[in-house]
């Protein structure tokens, strides 16, 4: 009986880092979006916050696309 500890370990590492990274990115995106919205309400703009948010969401979307690619292939 051979237990593939290496595979289990890598599953653990990859899942943990992917989850935390994605959730963190997504939350940062929300923070940026929220800042932008708060600024617009007061008549100003927060372009940097908005672009940062979109960049975060783009990365998350990329990860989802990669996930779909993994399912298909």
């Amino acid at each position: 009986m051979k237990i593939d500890w290496a595979a289990l370990g890598s599953v653990f590492g990859v899942s943990l880092s992917a989850t935390v990274a994605l959730v963190a990115l997504f939350t940062l995106g929300l923070v940026g979006l929220s800042k932008h919205e708060a600024a617009t309400e007061q008549g100003g703009t927060a372009t940097l916050a908005r672009s940062g948010a979109y960049a975060c969401f783009a990365l998350v979307a990329g990860a989802v696309a990669y996930g779909i690619y993994l399912i298909v292939s």
Binding site: M1, D4, F12, S15, V23, F26, L28, E37, A38, G67
Partner: protein, 426 residues
Amino acid sequence: MEHITLLLGIVIITALVFDFTNGFHDTANAMATTISTGALKPKTAVAMSAVLNLVGAFMSVEVAKTISKGLVNEEGIQPEVIFAALVGAILWNLVTWLVGLPSSSSHALMGGLVGAAVASAGLGAVNGGTLVTKVLLPAVAAPIVAGAAAMLAAKVTYKLGGNVGRKTSAKGYKAGQIASAGLVSLAHGTNDAQKTMGIITLALVAGGALAPGSNPPVWVIVSAGMAIAMGTYLGGWRIIRTMGSGLTDLQPQQGFAAQTSAASVILASSTLGFSLSTTHACSGAVMGAGLGRKGGVVRWSTASRMFIAWGLTLPAAAVVASGAELVMRTGDVGVAAVALFLAASCVAIWLISRRQVVDHSNVNEVQPAAAEEPGVVTTAMAAVTVPPTLAAEAAAGTTAAVTDEALKATIPAATPAAPAAPAAAV
């Protein structure tokens, strides 16, 4: 279409029934958190999951023949063996659904295969080592991996997103949950519908209707995809309730963390070659996310009932399957008896479930009747874990008496156990 005998026909229909139970049993994995946090309306959620399961079934041609390969030596496989395995798996799925506990459909199926193979070819037909590495270890590892990831992710999102505006937060986490739940549904469709396709193909090969090593015919792919999608749309509301609001109380942030963790674990495990059960990963993720909020609690009584169910999945399905296999030794009469027993049990379980209906309208209500459940659990467990010979007798008994009082007697029989339960639970 291939030449199909009556037995083969029964096996194929049973496989599709299993696929159907698999669908409604596992809706919770993808959609429980989405429903309990209100990101999607219950009906919308199951419809979306059903569509994605169907799409997933067609997306990959990588057949999951592995369900039988390695674990059971294929020479011992006869259509009867597969039928017996499916009977065990379906009954276990239905019993766990009745008591509202998530459990792995794959483990039930593997348990069924193991039991049937042992009954038909002796202990030598099963690889004990494979059993440990492919079944037992993953069952322990999956919730830990997914739980740790979800807990950390929930902590991170609370920390970083502390001052996100309410509107942005509500909209954002809703979208995030829908996306990650969609990914889980898609992965489920590819994995689990493929399993049934593999089983039907295996049965066709074993019955001589298909050349060994061939790919599943198109009608097999279509029917398996449809069966799992229909099951998903029907929705295993009891399990959704347990997973979405029974194990812990989830806020949208936690739901998002849990679903993302589940999706990552499922994809990472299937890609990196250490296959983990979707159900175990999702339940673990939900509990982890529950612990990831300050003041968050996991209801360990519900969780431990779930763990017990996980532990029993393989042996229970194996015992029922080996009983079925032994009865079928008697020939066509035995096959008919087992088929009738399966149908009668399904009807009985459904009738019992009608006594306390859980559906899309009340799925998010925390049940005040929780105390009643242990009673059902114990009776159900007792009913499932009878030794093979008893199961065989029960098979004969139930089939003979379905039409008359016995069925009526089955239902009240569960009731006396229920009042006793609160005492035990308190």
